[in-house]
């Protein structure tokens, strides 16, 4: 990246200092915006006592299950719909009918079936990640160089071999895009479903803190959540670069060759 953004850091520090100062002299209502130092102190306490890590672990367990399930179902489905025109036509209308449903309204439905169990959140995440994963995979497969598939057929590659060795590697970037777009969606939906129907998890923790007027604790929870969102994104980017390094290498080779 470019040079280090000192001015940006300076502005951030000034902002935080201003917050602290205004809260200390009570120009900001301490019941609504407590001083930053207090929030950080409580955050550290909750971190050490294991309260926040525990809530986050619960949320992450649900998020991971829903996300993995969505990937396991909708990447193959996207490949199938991309390769088979017939399958695409059969399923297209159903997909287009389900897609505009805003994911949160699935929560009451899931609560009806699963109550407040983990399965409820997993289902909601599964549903909301479905469309970005499916549609990106589908677009990747449909944008595939037809010559690639014809070559595979000429060489007599079996269907499963074609998918594993030709289609999957060639579409990996688009599939990764779908997975990346789904990452923040997963986080949002796990928080929403915990706010609406749960007795634990970081989403519940934040809403519960607010309802008990433990305002600093609420901000500490939000801070933890922001940190989590940031780390997850970084982790994804790292995995992406490592897993797809061969792809970019190949693309470069192609350009040079």
């Amino acid at each position: 990246m470019r040079g280090f953004n000192w001015r940006g850091i300076g502005f951030l520090i000034a902002l935080l200092a201003g917050w602290e100062l205004l809260a200390q002299v009570q120009l900001l209502n301490p019941l609504i915006v407590p001083p930053l130092s207090k929030i950080l102190a409580i955050f550290t306490d909750l971190l050490i006592s294991g309260q926040i890590p525990m809530q986050i672990a619960l949320s992450m367990k649900r998020a991971a299950a829903g996300y993995a399930l969505a990937a396991a179902v909708f990447v193959p489905l996207g490949i199938g719909m991309g390769l088979s025109q017939r399958m695409h036509r059969f399923l297209e209308v159903v997909v287009e009918m389900l897609r505009p449903v805003p994911p949160p309204v699935v929560i009451p439905l899931a609560m009806f079936f699963f109550g407040l169990e983990d399965r409820m959140k997993i289902f909601v995440i599964f549903f909301s990640c479905a469309w970005p994963i499916l549609l990106n995979t589908l677009a990747g497969v449909r944008g595939l160089d037809r010559v690639l598939l014809q070559t595979a057929r000429t060489f007599g590659l079996s269907r499963s071999k074609t998918i594993w060795q030709i289609v999957l590697p060639a579409c990996a970037p688009q599939i990764a895009t779908g997975l990346r777009v789904s990452l923040p969606i997963t986080l949002i939906l796990v928080v929403i479903s915990e706010m609406v129907g749960s007795t634990d998890g970081i989403g519940y923790f934040i809403l519960d803190s607010q309802r008990r007027f433990k305002v600093a604790q609420m901000y500490a929870g939000m801070f933890a959540l922001a940190l989590l969102g940031y780390l997850l994104n970084q982790l994804f980017n790292l995995t992406y670069r490592v897993m797809l390094s061969w792809h970019w290498g190949m693309m470069r080779q192609k350009d040079e060759g």
Binding site: L135, G203, Q210
Partner: protein, 259 residues
């Protein structure tokens, strides 16, 4: 994705078959009926709710909040985005703050908004604005940064003042990015409105669905979900229509450039 090319009878028959399975499956299993009432009963519940006017009222409330929040976010995001995109110094100043605020799942702001604004309309509109402004803002900044320098310099050479430059050159040139941001913002705004209504609302479709779930009125709950889905679909369609009309000139320009 629904092409207007050819009627997709396979697709519609699959859809019809699923509905039929739903109807028959639910009718043949009384235990299941509690969770999944036959689609015919859902539709008749929908009809009654529409006729009685209660659902229409909730729909109007939700739509009003959505429009207020989304339009505010659009105006704010595009305006700020143009300014931050154009004045790079200013952008450098706030870039880190933006990057720190953005990864937090926006719904986490709801409890804060409740503290500050109570549980009225203004709170729901505020969280909607907060959540949907990010994609619009970030995409607009991106769009301005991707404009060819020659374009801006030409504008300057012709003596355009800053405001005119922003409005006549930079805004149109960045519009493809802006449109992308606006589209993402649209679905986020709908998510936030319904979520906020579910958590603290006493009106609106989100509240209605949640309320019917608690009352174990599954037919009404499904009817509410159908209405929200229809709303999402309709809003998307309207957006695409408007986009097509507003961006028509651009295809003309692009085609002219290619000639």
């Amino acid at each position: 994705m629904i092409g207007l090319k050819r009627f997709n009878w396979q697709g519609w028959s699959t859809f019809g078959l699923l509905l039929l399975l739903w109807e028959l499956g639910s009718r043949s299993a009384p235990k299941l009926q509690f969770y999944v009432p036959p689609i015919s009963r859902v539709l008749s519940a929908l009809g009654q709710l529409v006729v009685s006017g209660s659902l229409v009222q909730h729909l109007a409330v939700t739509l009003g909040r959505f429009l207020a929040g989304y339009l505010l976010a659009a105006a704010l995001g595009v305006l700020l985005g143009l300014i931050l995109g154009y004045f790079r110094g200013l952008h450098g100043l706030v870039a880190i703050v933006i990057e720190l605020l953005r990864p937090m799942p926006s719904v986490a702001i709801i409890p804060v908004a409740v503290l500050m604004l109570g549980i009225g309309d203004s709170m729901i509109v505020a969280v909607t604005v907060y959540a949907s402004v990010w994609p619009i803002l970030v995409n607009t900044i991106d769009g301005v940064h991707h404009i060819e320098h020659v374009l801006i310099q030409t504008g300057r050479t012709f003596g355009l003042r800053r405001r005119k430059l922003l409005r006549r050159v930079i805004f149109p040139a960045a519009s493809p990015y802006i449109v992308t941001g606006l589209r993402i913002g649209l679905s986020i705004a709908l998510i936030l409105v319904t979520t906020a209504e579910m958590i603290i609302g006493s009106k609106g479709l989100g509240f209605f669905i949640m309320d019917e779930e608690r009352a174990m009125n599954s037919a009404n709950m499904y009817a509410g979900i159908l209405v929200v889905a229809a709303l999402g679909y309709a809003l998307n369609r309207v957006f695409l229509q408007l986009e097509g009309r507003m961006m028509k000139w651009r295809h003309g320009v692009a085609a002219g450039g290619a000639m």
